[in-house]
């Protein structure tokens, strides 16, 4: 599975956006409740997405209606917030939560890709993909536990 340079840059850029989200929403949580810190970005995000839709008028890719479960991403996202807020305040702390969460994310992604779950294309990782995975996960764990990230 080779990745085009554009997808590669956009995915890396999305990771940078995620860092900014953690900073912004984490600041909300330090002044208000966890509920507030999740409610505010969902409220403003809904408005901003409506503005983007009105400006961009993106074409719908298919006239067929998607299955109902395809609208459940936001519900699963709310579970993520609850699960991580809970484990952050246990012996795992933030670093343990992020490190184990990273493992959960990669294991589930690999299984889903290999089986082509959720109507998405099937992708089997090559030996090189596994090596890249090991390097990035090792680097991330060093940063999480020793580098002060999280």
């Amino acid at each position: 599975m080779t990745t085009s340079s554009l997808s590669f840059l956009l995915a890396f850029g999305a990771g940078v956006l995620l860092s900014l989200m953690v900073l912004f929403n984490g600041t909300l949580a330090s002044f208000g409740s966890l509920l507030f810190a999740s409610w505010v970005p969902h409220a403003t995000g809904t408005l901003v997405a409506l503005i983007f839709l009105a400006l961009m008028r993106p074409q719908k890719a298919s006239a067929k209606r998607p299955p109902l479960w395809a609208y459940a991403g936001g519900i699963v996202g709310a579970f993520t917030v609850m699960a991580t807020s809970y484990t952050m305040n246990t012996a795992l702390a933030l670093s343990g939560t992020i490190a184990i969460g990273l493992a959960g994310q990669m294991v589930f992604s690999l299984v889903a890709d290999a089986r082509g779950m959720f109507g998405l294309p099937q992708k089997l990782p090559s030996l090189r993909d596994w090596t890249a995975l090991a390097l990035i996960v090792a680097g991330s764990l060093i940063l999480i536990f020793f580098g002060g990230v999280a």
Binding site: F36, L47, G73, T80, T131
Partner: protein, 140 residues
Amino acid sequence: MIWFVLIAFLGGASVSLSRQINGRLSLSTSAMHASFWNHIVGFGLLTLMALVFGGLFTPGIKDIPFWAYLGGTVGVVFIALSSWLVAKIGAAQTALLIIAGQMISGVVLDILTGAPGNPAARTAGVALILAGMWLSQRKR
């Protein structure tokens, strides 16, 4: 302890799950539609929780700096991007590159804001991540 580990693991898996669900929605609609539905459904659920449990507005919120309210705007672009990516390059590749971007920019933000951290560990961590990215992107 095993219970906490399980919840933390499921928390991570749910990141990938919601990304794939949004990716599936973007295949029928568009990446921006998927981002809109992700936000409005989450907003509805969180509003319901606030009505049931309370605790949404606490006294401290009047002191929040204005820039902290930008998370939702960034989030719309983030969800749209990741919905598009997961359908194009797969869940594992998307997750790996987003993690790489998050970790490296996290180090940069930490250095800019003067957060404490071991410089040797930061260098080693970033070097390993860059090596992994180079390997995954190198032409065969």
